[in-house]
C-alpha cells in the first residue's frame, strides 16, 4: 500500500521533517520582519517611542530613505525601523573619515511604502547662469526678473513645515489618523 509506505517514511524521517517545518516558519518570520520599506513623503520624524505624545523625535528622515522593519506596535500603527546614515565628518576633517551610523526609531506606518517614490531627475550638464533658458528669455523680452528673486528663496525649513502640520493636526498629527501601512502586512 503506497499510503502506508509514506507513513513509514514520514515516521523514519520525522526529525528532518520537523526541522524543515521549523526552518520554514523561522525564515518566513524573518522575511516578514526584515522587509525593506521607503519613506514616501518629503520628510518624517522618527520617534523614540511608538507615539506622538510620548517620547521624543530622535531623527528626521527624508524622502526615499530605505528602512528595514524591526518590529511593529501592537496596534500596527507604528513600525520600528533601522537604517544607515552617513555620519558627517567633523569640521576641518576630510571626507575620508565619514562613517556610517545605524539609526533606529519608530515611524508612523502611513508614511512607509513598499515602492520607492519618484525622485526628480537632475539635468545632465549644467549651463552657465547667464545662458540659462530663464535668463535668455528674460533678456530677450526685457522682462523684470525681480519678482522671481524672492519667489526662489527657501520659504521655510522642514522643521517649520513639521510645526505647521502639528499645529493644524494634519498628516500623522491628526489624532484619529488611521493605521495605514502602504499595504504592508500587519
Amino acid at each position: 500500500m503506497p499510503n502506508r509506505r509514506w507513513l513509514t517514511r514520514l515516521h523514519t524521517f520525522r526529525v528532518p521533517w520537523l526541522a524543515m517545518v521549523l526552518l520554514v516558519l523561522a525564515a518566513s518570520w524573518v522575511a516578514a520582519e526584515g522587509a525593506a520599506l521607503y519613506l514616501r513623503v518629503r520628510f518624517a520624524p522618527v520617534r523614540s517611542k511608538p507615539s506622538l505624545k510620548e517620547g521624543e523625535t530622535k531623527h528626521t528622515i527624508s524622502v526615499g530613505q530605505k528602512v528595514e522593519v524591526l518590529e511593529r506596535s501592537k496596534d500596527g500603527e507604528w513600525v520600528k525601523v533601522k537604517w544607515t546614515e552617513e555620519k558627517k565628518a567633523p569640521e576641518g576633517k576630510e571626507d575620508k573619515e565619514k562613517k556610517a551610523e545605524t539609526c533606529e526609531g519608530w515611524i508612523h506606518a502611513t508614511l512607509l511604502n513598499t515602492k520607492a517614490p519618484t525622485t526628480e531627475t537632475a539635468k545632465t550638464g549644467v549651463a552657465a547662469p547667464e545662458q540659462s533658458l530663464l535668463n535668455r528669455h528674460a533678456q530677450m523680452k526685457k522682462l523684470d526678473t525681480r519678482p522671481l528673486q524672492t519667489l526662489l528663496r527657501e520659504p521655510h525649513t522642514n522643521d517649520q513645515l513639521d510645526r505647521f502640520l502639528r499645529e493644524g493636526k494634519l498628516g500623522v498629527y491628526r489624532e484619529d489618523w488611521p493605521a495605514l501601512e502602504g499595504g504592508v502586512t500587519k
Binding site: 518566513s28 522575511a31 513598499t114 531627475t121 528669455h137 491628526r174 488611521p178 502586512t185
Partner: protein
C-alpha cells in the same frame, strides 16, 4: 542504498522548503502591498458603473471596505496617470520653463508680496506637495494682483494664485482645495503637456525637439501665447477635472476636510454671480462638471464629510492680510 535514498529525500525536502520560503517571503508583502488596490478593483468589477455610488456602510457590509478609514488608504494608493509628455525633461528643465512662464504672467499682472501671507501659502502648498506622488518637488507660491478665480500650477512646482481666488476661500481646507488643484497640475505635468501641445501646433520642429531645445524666438512666442491663454481661459476643462480628482486624494492624504475644493468652487460661483448681477453663469456647465468630478471621487473613496477645516488659522494667517478689492 538506504543512505542514498535518505540523502535524496533530504535534498528534495530542502528544495521544497526553499521554494516555500521564497514564496512566503515574496508573496506576503506583494499580496498586502496590493491589498487596497485589489479591494478597489474587486469592488469596481463587482459593481461596474455603480461602484462609485456605493456608500461606506454598504461597502463595510459586503466586506469590501475593511474599516471606516479605508478612504485614506484608497487615497494613498490611488494612481493618477501623469499627462503624456512627448519629450524628456529634467526637473531643472521643468523649473526653467515654469519660471519663464511665470515671468510672462508677472509681465501682465503685478505680483502681490506679503511677509506673513507668502510663508503661510507656501506652507499649505508644501504640505500638499510633500504628500503627493512627487514628494521631492519643491513648490513656491506667488500671489497675483488679479481677480481671477483660477490657480495655476506651472511646470516645476511654481504656483500662481490670484487675489480673487484667495478671497473666495473661507477656511484653510478651502484654500488647501484651491492649492491642491494647482499642486496636482504640477504633479501630473498638465501645464507642461499643454506647453508642448502649443509648441507643436505652432512650430513643426517642436515635434522632434523638446521645448527647452527650441530656438529662443520660438519658445518666447509659445510661452507668451500660453500665458495669455491660461490667464484668459484658465485650464482646459478636461485637465481641470483630472486635477480636481487628484486634489481630492491630496486633501484626503493630509487630513483636510475632503469637500474643501467643492466648497471653494461653490463660493467662486457665488462671487461670479454677484459680478454678473445675479444672472445665470456663462460657465455654469463647467462648474457643474467639476463639482460632479469631485463628488464622484469622494464617493469612490467612500470619504465622509469630516476633516480639518481650520477656519481660525486661515483668518489669522491668510484672510486678514489680503488687500481690499478695487472697486
Amino acid at each position: 542504498m538506504k543512505r542514498t535514498r535518505h540523502s535524496i529525500f533530504l535534498l528534495s525536502t530542502s528544495l521544497f522548503a526553499a521554494v516555500l520560503v521564497s514564496l512566503i517571503a515574496g508573496c506576503k508583502t506583494k499580496d498586502s502591498a496590493n491589498r487596497a488596490s485589489e479591494t478597489v478593483s474587486a469592488y469596481a468589477k463587482e459593481f461596474g458603473a455603480s461602484a462609485g455610488r456605493l456608500t461606506s456602510k454598504a461597502g463595510e457590509k459586503l466586506g469590501l471596505v475593511e474599516k471606516k478609514w479605508d478612504f485614506v488608504r484608497f487615497a494613498w494608493d490611488a494612481q493618477e496617470k501623469p499627462a503624456a509628455v512627448a519629450h524628456n525633461y529634467s526637473y531643472e528643465d521643468e523649473r526653467d520653463l515654469g519660471l519663464a512662464l511665470a515671468l510672462e504672467f508677472f509681465a501682465r499682472q503685478e505680483r502681490f508680496e506679503h511677509e506673513r501671507l507668502d510663508p503661510y501659502l507656501n506652507l499649505v502648498a508644501s504640505a500638499l506637495a510633500a504628500h503627493s506622488d512627487r514628494p521631492a518637488m519643491e513648490v513656491r507660491v506667488a500671489v497675483l494682483r488679479g481677480e481671477s478665480l483660477h490657480a495655476f500650477g506651472l511646470p516645476g512646482g511654481l504656483i500662481l494664485v490670484p487675489l480673487g481666488a484667495l478671497r473666495a476661500c473661507e477656511s484653510e481646507s478651502e484654500l488647501a482645495g484651491l492649492l491642491a488643484q494647482a499642486v496636482a497640475q504640477c504633479e501630473l505635468r498638465l501645464t507642461l503637456a499643454r506647453l508642448e501641445h502649443f509648441a507643436a501646433e505652432r512650430h513643426a520642429e517642436a515635434k522632434e525637439k523638446s521645448c527647452v531645445s527650441l530656438p529662443p524666438e520660438q519658445l518666447r512666442a509659445v510661452l507668451e501665447d500660453l500665458a495669455l491663454d491660461l490667464s484668459r481661459n484658465g485650464l482646459k476643462a478636461e485637465d481641470a477635472r483630472v486635477a480636481d480628482r487628484r486634489s481630492v486624494d491630496l486633501l484626503m492624504r493630509l487630513g483636510y476636510e475632503p469637500g474643501g475644493l467643492r466648497a471653494h468652487l461653490a463660493r467662486a460661483q457665488l462671487k461670479l454671480r454677484e459680478k454678473a448681477g445675479g444672472g445665470p453663469l456663462a460657465n455654469y456647465a463647467e462648474f457643474k462638471a467639476r463639482e460632479e468630478t469631485i463628488d464622484a471621487r469622494l464617493a469612490e473613496l467612500h470619504a465622509p464629510s469630516l476633516g480639518r477645516s481650520i477656519a481660525d488659522r486661515y483668518r489669522r494667517e491668510g484672510l486678514v492680510h489680503l488687500p481690499a478689492p478695487k472697486l
